[in-house]
Amino acid sequence: MEVIKKVLVIGGGVAGIQAALDIADGGYQVILVEKTPSVGGHMAQYAEVFPTLDCPQCILTPKMVDVGQHSNITLLTYAELQKVSGEVGNFTVEILQKARKVNHKKCTGCGTCWQKCPEKVPSEYDAGIADRAAIYIPFAQAVPAKPVIDTEHCRYIKHLEFVEGETEGKRPPQCRICERLCPAEAIDWEQEAQTITEQVGAIVVATGFDLMPIKRLPEYAEDPDVIDGIQFERMLSPGGPNAGVVRRPSDGKIPGEVVFVSCAGSRDPEHGVPHCSRVCCMYLAKQAMLYKHAVHDSQAHIFYIDTRTTGKGYEEFLQRTMTEGTVYLRGKVSRIYRDGDKLKVMGVDTLSGKQVEVSADLVVLGMAMLPSVGAKDMAARLGIATDEQGFFTESHIKIDPLESTRPGIYLAGTAQGPKDIPDSVAQGSGAASKVLGLFARSEMTPEGLTVG
């Protein structure tokens, strides 16, 4: 049987992008499927990346542009894998292209629509600390830089779907502002979702991660000033909603004292997850450093149990963070609650044997990394195994870290387990190598593959 030399890459974060580029550069056709309207993934949200403090947009945007322009890559954003059948060398995949309600052939990406749309929705890209319009591109450097209409929030769609007596509330107005203002007449209310069927020889799964929601840790108050790491990245980001000025969500005040809590949900089999999320130690150190650079005369405190800085240059980075005055307190935080203008953080320093209480203006929780929402469903669709949390299981944890439990399906990035950017990139490339190797062999025999 002939091996179909075309690959499906699921997930347009940095791991998926890297896998797609390597395979495409290897001369094979790639279909890259991303469920949000743009590639980039979580990496595009970060302010600066450890330990070099590079601007992630600067290093990622060229790769994003590459996948958008590469002649061997078919980029399907706002699309999701629905069904897989067949076997290694010859999978049939069904991909649902969600309705964008915007004709991307006509759209010029001029931006009029999303600037004028009156409906405001919490921005996924800004992790909810800022709004976007109902017609939107997720962020300025999005690829493609053409919008989609969020049908769940668009006023006109809601108007159309309103059923008197059944839908709650009043019928929304016939807005259609985007349609009226679009100079390219690209708004297409008739556009429907469609299923695309493709034949591929191999699949790379790089569906990434999500953070554990803060509300899973009720001892840490539900408070606008208790935020997660990604939200703080957006605050620190020069491209973020406050243009890099750190302001706390509740009242816009510049926080003079920030507490960072490691292992929020991680290493906690009783209330969270038993695993270590691997990246929090580093990104919290980085955030503390950036925060101190951004706000003069400020104080950062980091609660931790063990600092885990094993990557290249990481230990040195950690030591620098400490030297620059961030106070490390060895212990977990038991409770956080609001007391007037401040958040009381009740912690401990197990090294001095003292209970510690910090009055903070802002608290950043290093929430546990979980597989992206829907990972288990994805695994079921792909017919591959996951662990209890939903991280995809490799065929052998030591010696086959990139192969899933099903031949022809490979893993990359944080979908397999928490990891940082270099490890994700290396895995993206590594998975590509598996695919390139497979495609270099021309024929499948009943016994397996023969070298062609």
Partner: protein, 651 residues
């Protein structure tokens, strides 16, 4: 030189990154009157699709002959914009980037006026440079689709297999007599507790018998010349003093050899002969004679092996031989060593104070004690074993500043295996931070902690010394705030992982960089983790940074992917912005030759002028800088262009 007379200038806002600081309107206004500039346009994100569309339109409509893109650093979008130009029929080397972000709006964020004036100056200067740009075409060089992999540890083996299974030839060179590297010495993996040598046995066998892999053991890379696509490698096949064609691997010589030497494989816990084979678990290769210890080579007349060899294969007159191979790219995977004994000095030398690898041999079923835990000094089963993490690691004063990444895990594993072998024993683990950060690791460590008889102590050990039968260990428990003393039967030091001493020499041969510790340096720590800065040389495994088995394998697979991608092309394109020699002026003084890092320039003996090898030249410009007569110039970065730039910038 042709002069670019219809120049287009495109100014990017980069959201607020530039527009927030630089007065774009004023920039556009200033440039629109500038000589030679026929089109000026600004846009929110020039790199976006609509931004590129603006360029396309202008190239066609205004028949532009050159373009200046004023935006971020050229490392980001030069390629993007050049590709746009090329697609519209404009030579890509007639596109220049004026960096008004990193070099202007960012550093001058609090001074709009300065930033705006500087941006204008930068763009005008770039226009001046562009005027004298030549239209260039990349050089095409052939590509040899064959790979040299250095090091046959698990990283090298995995890379070799991935590439060979991709259908390309591999030359795999290993300095030791057997393959498999340090993995072969280990007693068990974490967290899965499998026997590592059997785990990778099939890969060893596959690589040894793969039709596309040419394996050289007991060999070293002597010399590498050439450039990506076409390297010539000289391999030294070290003399084993045994004729490989004749030897039938019967092993009689090994029995008869009278010399005992401490075994490298068993970390000195057992002895081997002066004529030796690789590790028992490794695939059987031919024995070699270790000249350092062989009596024959040390003034004696011993002929024991010769006398017994039924095939007459012993050949004391054998000499090192050299093999030349032509390959296209290199994967460097020379691996690691442990920090040598004596560093840091505070711990005494004692047979019962051993390093982690030695303890692996003690634990190993294939080890000298067949997996029975016995301490080296007197063969006693140790009842109390102290493990010390971070020996030399995280210690910039006495060892190395970095974390060796794997020690926390292998120490936990060793303590567990020890307890399984000696159920009544007690293990102590001194640590500073438990770094169990990969998949399944935290869970593993927590299980180990929960195992009775393993006590974690948060603190370092300050001293240890022998006291009769015991080794006294003086440490601290920072959690309880008390000094601790333990009387141990055996102490295991998790010494820092360091690059092999030979790695530095290798970096010189390959012309790649290494960091202060000697680890191989990647092109970009985040996004190009398996490439070196030298084209065509890739990195894998622990020579680049301490890592465990899966990360090592993943990095090897990633390196293989880079190779396979590259090999999908039929030939290589080479940047044309390289050095060029004006033969009329060149006097053949050879200063440029001495100054070239890439060995890309030489003086033609007959004509006595310098010649640039276009395939090797990386366009760094050091030849141009040193040339006393300006005979060597960098294409599109000529002195004239720089003078024009300085004129504008200073004016």
């Amino acid at each position: 030189m042709a002069r670019q007379e219809r120049i287009g200038v495109f100014v990017c806002h980069c959201g607020n990154n530039i527009a927030g600081t630089v007065d774009i309107e004023r920039v556009v206004e200033e440039l629109s009157h500038y000589p030679g500039v026929v089109h000026v346009e600004d846009y929110m994100y020039m790199c976006s699709d609509p931004g590129q569309e603006l360029m396309r339109k202008a190239i066609q409509e205004k028949a532009l002959t050159g373009i200046v893109n004023a935006n971020c650093s050229p490392t980001l979008h030069q390629r993007t914009f050049r590709r746009v130009a090329e697609a519209e029929g404009l030579n890509p080397y007639c596109v220049e980037i004026a960096n008004i972000r990193e070099q202007c709006s960012w550093p001058h964020a609090d001074d709009k006026e300065t930033a705006t004036r500087k941006a204008i100056a930068i763009i005008k200067a770039t226009v001046e440079k562009l005027r004298f740009n030549m239209a260039l075409t990349p050089t095409v060089t052939p590509l040899t689709k064959r790979v040299l992999v250095i090091g046959a540890g698990i990283a090298g083996i995995q890379a070799a297999l991935d590439i060979a299974n991709g259908g390309y030839g591999v030359v795999l060179v290993e300095q030791d007599i057997g393959i498999g590297g340090h993995v072969m010495q280990l007693a068990g993996t974490f967290p899965s507790l499998e026997q590592p040598d059997s785990l990778i046995a099939s890969r060893l066998a596959e690589v040894a018998s793969h039709p596309l892999v040419k394996l050289y053991t007991y060999a070293e890379v002597e010399e590498v010349s050439g450039y990506v696509g076409n390297f010539d490698v000289k391999i030294r096949q070290k003399a084993g003093y045994i004729n490989r064609g004749r030897c039938n691997a019967c092993g009689m010589c090994l029995e008869k050899c009278p010399v005992l030497v401490s075994s490298e494989y068993d970390c000195g816990l057992s002895q081997r002969k002066a004529i030796r084979l690789p590790s028992p678990a490794a695939l059987t290769f031919h024995p070699v004679i270790d000249v350092e210890h062989c009596l024959h080579f040390n003034g004696s007349q011993c002929q024991a092996c010769c006398e017994v060899c039924p095939e007459g294969a012993i050949d004391f007159s054998e000499e090192d031989t050299f093999v030349e191979e032509r390959i296209g790219v290199v994967v460097a995977a020379p691996g690691y060593d442990l920090l040598p004994v004596g560093q840091p000095e505070a711990y005494p030398e004692d047979p019962d104070i051993i390093d982690g690898l030695k303890f692996e041999r003690i634990l190993s079923a294939t080890g000298p004690t067949n997996g029975e835990i016995r301490r080296p000094s007197d063969g006693k089963v140790p009842r109390e074993v102290v493990f010390i993490s971070c020996v030399g690691s995280r210690d910039p004063e006495h060892g190395v500043p970095y974390c060796s990444r794997v020690c926390c895990m292998y120490v936990a594993k060793q303590a567990l295996l020890y307890r399984q072998a000696v159920p009544e024993g007690q293990a102590y683990i001194f640590y500073m931070d438990i770094r169990s950060d990969a998949k399944g690791f935290e869970e593993f460590v927590q299980d180990v902690m929960d195992e009775g008889g393993i006590l974690y102590l948060r603190g370092e050990v300050s001293r240890m010394f022998r006291d009769g039968d015991k080794i006294k260990v003086w440490g601290v428990d920072t959690l309880i705030g008390r000094n601790i003393e333990i009387s141990a039967d055996l102490v295991v030091l998790a010494r820092a992982m360091v690059p092999r001493p030979t790695t530095r020499e290798l970096t010189r041969k390959l012309n790649i960089a290494s960091d202060a510790h000697g680890f191989l340096t990647e092109a970009h720590i985040k996004l190009r983790p398996v490439e070196s800065l030298t084209s065509g040389i890739y990195l894998a495994g622990t020579a680049q940074w301490p890592r465990d088995l899966p990360d090592t394998i993943a990095s090897a697979e990633a390196a293989a992917s880079k190779v396979l991608s590259l090999f999908s092309r039929e030939e290589l394109l080479h940047e044309p912005t390289i050095a060029w020699v004006d033969e009329e002026i060149c006097s053949g003084c050879e200063q440029c030759v001495a100054n070239c890092t890439y060995k890309a320039i030489e003086v033609d003996k007959r004509s006595n002028v310098a010649r640039v090898n276009e395939a090797i030249c990386e366009g760094c410009g050091s030849c141009a800088a040193i040339c006393p007569s300006n005979a060597v110039q960098l294409k599109n970065s000529t002195p004239r262009q720089f003078f024009e730039i300085i004129d504008v910038a200073a004016g």
